[in-house]
């Protein structure tokens, strides 16, 4: 489209996430799949390189790897699960955290600019995995009946309140958690991507395609705002990865804890 000829602006919306396959005909190979695969390659490569030597005196790379690993191991897993049993869950939590983090940040990285988790399937998968793991951990430790008693009958509640408490606790601890986990992550990524799209594409449209000088000025401001939004998004993307993994760790911790 040439500048000066007014064209209709198509604002980014849900349809912006409906991406065509990268190779026509191969329907499953979409951008999020590619980005997710790349993130797996990057994570595995980085941690393989960092952990390979497992030296007492770490190299710079190993130190960086340990920093990343320790963050999940100590600040998330150990704090939430407790030092007795947390090591079992560190591999999953580590993989989960860096998988979500890289795929979220992919929404800000130039040229990629697509947060994988804005496709809800990925968020469902991560939430279901966490859900299965924390329930399985609880059942393994307390048995099916003991676990459900632990999750639905909080200690210190009078017996006559139990008919009320059991459904509420069951819904909040068993049913809602995977939904809230997945929706929180998905919605943040989805909305962030749209927000960025509105600012960047809107600014672009106003500057280059609206054909109005005034709109062009506004467009420049919009574009600059878009940069600030990108910074905000980077923050939100990191925070969401952190929240997802912290909540997973807390669910595991509360499922296997001795007291409610």
């Amino acid at each position: 489209m040439t500048a000066g000829v007014p064209t209709e602006f198509i604002a980014p919306g849900p349809q912006s996430f409906d991406l065509p396959p990268i190779i026509p005909g191969v329907d499953w190979f979409t951008k999020p799949v590619l980005v997710a695969a790349l993130s797996v390659v990057v994570i595995v490569w980085f941690y393989w390189a960092a952990a390979r030597k497992s030296a007492v005196v770490p190299s710079r790379l190993q130190f960086a790897g340990e920093l990343g690993y320790n963050f999940v191991r100590n600040s998330i897993a150990r704090d939430a699960i407790g030092s007795a049993e947390y090591m079992k869950y560190v591999p999953y939590l580590c993989g989960l955290f860096y998988f979500i983090l890289l795929n979220n940040v992919a929404g800000t990285i130039p040229l990629i600019q697509f947060p994988t988790f804005s496709h809800i399937g990925w968020a469902y998968v991560a939430a279901v995995m966490s859900w299965v793991i924390y329930n399985a951990a609880g059942i393994k430790k307390k048995g099916v009946w003991g676990y459900f008693k632990h999750q639905t009958m909080p200690a210190g509640v009078p017996l006559w309140l139990m008919p009320l408490m059991i459904p509420i606790e069951f819904i909040s601890n068993i049913l809602v958690r995977p939904i809230s986990l997945s929706l929180r992550l998905f919605a943040n990524m989805f909305a962030g991507h749209i927000l960025l799209g509105v600012f960047v594409l809107g600014g672009e449209y106003m500057v280059f395609e609206s054909g109005k000088i005034l709109l062009g000025g506004v467009g420049i401001i919009t574009f600059i705002m878009g940069l600030a939004i990108a910074g905000l998004e980077l923050f939100v993307q990191s925070i969401q990865a952190y929240i997802f993994v912290v909540l997973t760790a807390q669910y595991i911790g509360s499922a296997i804890s001795d007291e409610h």
Binding site: G13, Q15, A37, V44, V56, G95, L96, H119, V125
Partner: protein, 190 residues
């Protein structure tokens, strides 16, 4: 601005429900997450934990070695302190002994000196006595000789004159006096 926003609903045309997942993504999601968990469980976590354990062991080993070195240093210090105390004690003892010995030597020396002086005095006295006895003896024989001589002279010159007689007597007396003073001088000499 409304014109900008308006086309959205139209463009959305075919309904895209963002809450419906794609099957492929679900499958890949599970595959990737499980892959990552396995990679961490099998490779990353054991290696990092091994590094941590090694590090802890190294630090503890270092601490153990340091503790041992400290104990050794302490033992050495105690040893040296004990040795020093011994040495001091010994030095004090030696000094004490020396003082005692010195005192003994001085006392002995004094005694010796006393004995010596006694001996010298006794010896001198004995010598004096002997000399005096000798002098007395010699004087005695001399006096006898002199008396005889004088008597002879007196008899020889018998009556020459009274003046000569007197002279003779005076000479004799003078001689006698001389020998007396000589004898006295010997006596005082010891």
């Amino acid at each position: 601005m409304t014109t900008l926003v308006l086309p959205l609903s139209e463009a959305a045309g075919e309904d895209v429900n963002p809450l419906l997942p794609h099957t492929a993504e679900i499958i890949f999601g599970f595959v990737f997450l499980i892959l990552l968990a396995i990679a961490f469980a099998k490779f990353v976590v054991p290696r990092f934990e091994k590094a941590y354990a090694d590090r802890t062991a190294a630090i503890e080993g270092g601490m153990e070695a340091a503790k041992q070195a400290q104990a050794e240093a302490k033992a050495a210090l105690e040893k040296y302190t004990a040795q020093l105390a011994n040495a001091r004690q010994e030095a004090a003892k030696i000094r004490e002994d020396a003082r005692e010995q010195g005192a003994a030597i001085i006392a002995e020396m004094r005694e010796q000196a006393n004995a010596e002086s006694e001996r010298i005095v006794t010896h001198a006295r004995a010598q004096i006595d002997a000399e005096r006895a000798q002098a007395v003896a010699s004087l005695r024989s001399e006096v006898g000789t002199m008396a005889t001589t004088l008597a002879g002279r007196i008899v020889g010159e018998s009556l020459e004159d009274e003046a000569r007689q007197r002279r003779t007597v005076e000479r004799f007396l003078a001689e006698l006096e001389e020998s007396e003073s000589a004898r006295q001088a010997v006596g005082t000499d010891g």
